[in-house]
Amino acid sequence: MPVFHFPSLTRLHRRLGAAGLAIGMAISMNGAYGQAKRLPSIADPDAAALTDRAEKDLAHAIEADSALFDSGLGTSCPLGHEDIVRATLGPLAYARMAQQLKAEPPPEISRLTVLSGTCPLNAIFNGPVEYITETGTRFATDSLVITTETKQRVAGVFVNGNPIGDHVTHRRLLSTTFNRLGSGELIEVKTGHPNRPVHSVAYESRDSDSRPTRPTVTFSWIDGPTMRTMTIIARTLDGDRTVSDMYQDDKLASRTRFKNHQLHGWNENFLPELVKLGMGKQCYQNGQEIKAVDCPDT
């Protein structure tokens, strides 16, 4: 399957605005679109329907890398982390998650840049908008420090602050793990594999009440030692509950159930190495692990 399709690339460039155009020009000029990033064939109709598109979008994002998330191309919005989260989630989703969000430590870095449309007013987006978020977190134990730099580029429409219609999210995640010595010195963990960013593209669609109209599918290009791709299909069962299937390459690796964004119901692992360790499934109720025979997800 050819990876480079000029018409689809043009559509993508249009969606990505000026940066997309610049990237497209660079790609066209050097004439080498990079190696094919083939996504596996997954036994899930919702993922399968998006695979061709995701393959092209991911190939483009990998090629463009940081240039796709260049905040210098837009207008920086002077908002704190909480307001950024409120604006990007929308007030409806934010209200559902407020309690959990407050319990989380804020990231070290949180920035919002608008590429098209206007910055949120009172933490509310309105109309078609394209924006970039940059988040930097640091997770530390006494022997490890994990830093994560996440950049997202989202294009979609907001009405009364809530996302509606199709939203496409490009994501670049770079996670670095350090050994933390007693002296405080950090030495980066070296596994023999280059520490490359993970690129993802997510497709979601919401109705006029901001409820998902179809499963949200996220394709990630890992290219790691244990898996090449990861695909997550999140299905909303009702307003509060979702079931998330995660594929490692073409294999269904786990099925996770959530209620109000907390683990709720059986968390099933299908990978033989985890099943062998007795970790085939765990029961969670409102985020808490429970030893149970039946595990309600309602």
Binding site: T88, T148, L181, V189, P225, Q285
Partner: protein, 364 residues
């Protein structure tokens, strides 16, 4: 903004997992390797020092309890003993290993402080206060055999959040910190089946104690009712947990078990006691709407109210679910016998239930 976190965690664990199968320092410079190895050594020394410091506070040691057993003293003993980074303080009782017949002291009543973690507090870290029971796993050829701890009482998490219920720590190695997880009554039934012989011995012991104490029994909660609840009830029967908690947990457990999922009392109790943090369905199977069940439990049958009066004159009404009229009759009789504490009739129940419902505890 939320889903990337799950993805990030999966990616991180995946990449960390990949480096566990070979020399972890293979890709570092000699200088880095030396620093990392020295740090690991210093870290394990610090850990050993911390454990030693904890041991200084112990009032019991494995040597002193071994000495007691050697001298034929198997009466309960009070004391403190650390377990790695964790500590148990309270009463210890003798446990007969069903496989080797060896005797050892295990936790009975008191509190277990769970501290062990890797630099970041874990969900099970905190203080467990209540009654403990230990079951020995079968011996492992050429390995160390494990066991299961069951604890019933209260849990105060490291961040102060409180909860009440049944907690289990399975596949626990000797002298290694325990990782308790909250369990549903249905899961406890599974444990009961796994350790059938040990539970039977425990039941006999509790029944004997109940008969001895029957005349002076002033407990707010009826021992007969507790026996109907299997292992959880048995533990409650002898629990030293505060009276109100004991009655609350027991009553809720009884309602849930007897109504076969039509009530959600234990879950409601957990919610009351611990606010928003509590599990919505601490009772597991019993809290799940019947329509979502699978297999034989998919048809919950009917529910009826059953009123009865005990020889003592005390009247009660309970809700009973059933699938067949014959099983209902057995359940009613079981309920009456247990609730009225008719200890001499307890032995009739397994036969009655087995013939009417197919199980010795009338679970149709």
């Amino acid at each position: 903004m939320r889903k990337p976190k799950l993805a990030a965690l999966l990616l991180i664990t995946s990449s960390l997992g990949a480096c566990a199968t070979y020399d972890p320092y293979a890709h570092y410079t000699p200088d880095e390797r030396a620093k990392l190895m020295a740090d690991l050594e210093a870290r394990s020394q610090r850990q050993a020092q911390n454990r030693e410091q904890l041991r200084q506070g112990d009032t019991l040691t494995s040597e002193t309890v071994a000495y007691r057993i050697r001298n034929g003293d198997t009466t309960p003993v009070e004391g403190i003993m650390s377990r790695g980074e964790d500590v148990f303080e309270g009463r210890w009782k003798i446990h007969d290993d069903p496989y080797t017949r060896a005797k050892r002291y295990t936790y009975d009543k008191g509190h277990y402080q769970s501290n062990a973690h890797f630099g970041l507090a874990l969900a099970h870290n905190g203080l467990y206060r209540g009654d403990f029971l230990y079951f020995q796993d079968p011996p492992v050829q050429g390995g160390i055999s494990t066991g299961t701890f069951v604890m019933i009482g209260s849990f105060t998490r490291h961040d102060g959040v409180q909860d009440t219920g049944i907690y289990v720590a399975e596949k626990s190695y000797p002298a290694t910190p325990l990782a308790f997880t909250k369990a549903t009554p249905a899961y406890l039934e599974r444990i009961e089946k796994r350790y059938q012989r040990q539970v039977a011995n425990y039941r006999e012991e509790q029944l004997r104690l109940a008969r001895e104490a029957r005349e002076s029994e002033e407990s707010m909660f009826n021992f007969g009712q507790l026996l109907a609840l299997g292992l959880g009830g048995l533990m409650l029967a002898s629990a030293d947990i505060p009276g109100a908690d004991r009655m609350d947990i027991g009553t809720a457990l009884f309602k849930d078990v007897m109504s076969q999922g039509q009530t959600n009392a234990l879950a409601d109790l957990a919610r009351e006691k611990s606010g928003s943090y509590a599990t919505s369905v601490a009772a597991g199977a019993h809290g799940r709407p019947a329509a979502h069940r699978s297999g034989p439990a998919a048809n919950p049958g009917k529910t009826t109210s059953y009123s009865f009066t005990c020889p003592s004159g005390q009247s009660s009404t309970v809700s009973i679910s059933y699938r067949s009229a014959s099983c209902l009759a057995a359940k009613q009789e079981m309920t009456r016998i247990y609730a009225c504490n008719l200890v001499d009739d307890f032995s009739k129940i397994p036969g009655l239930c087995s013939s009417a419902c197919g199980t010795p505890q009338c679970t149709d």
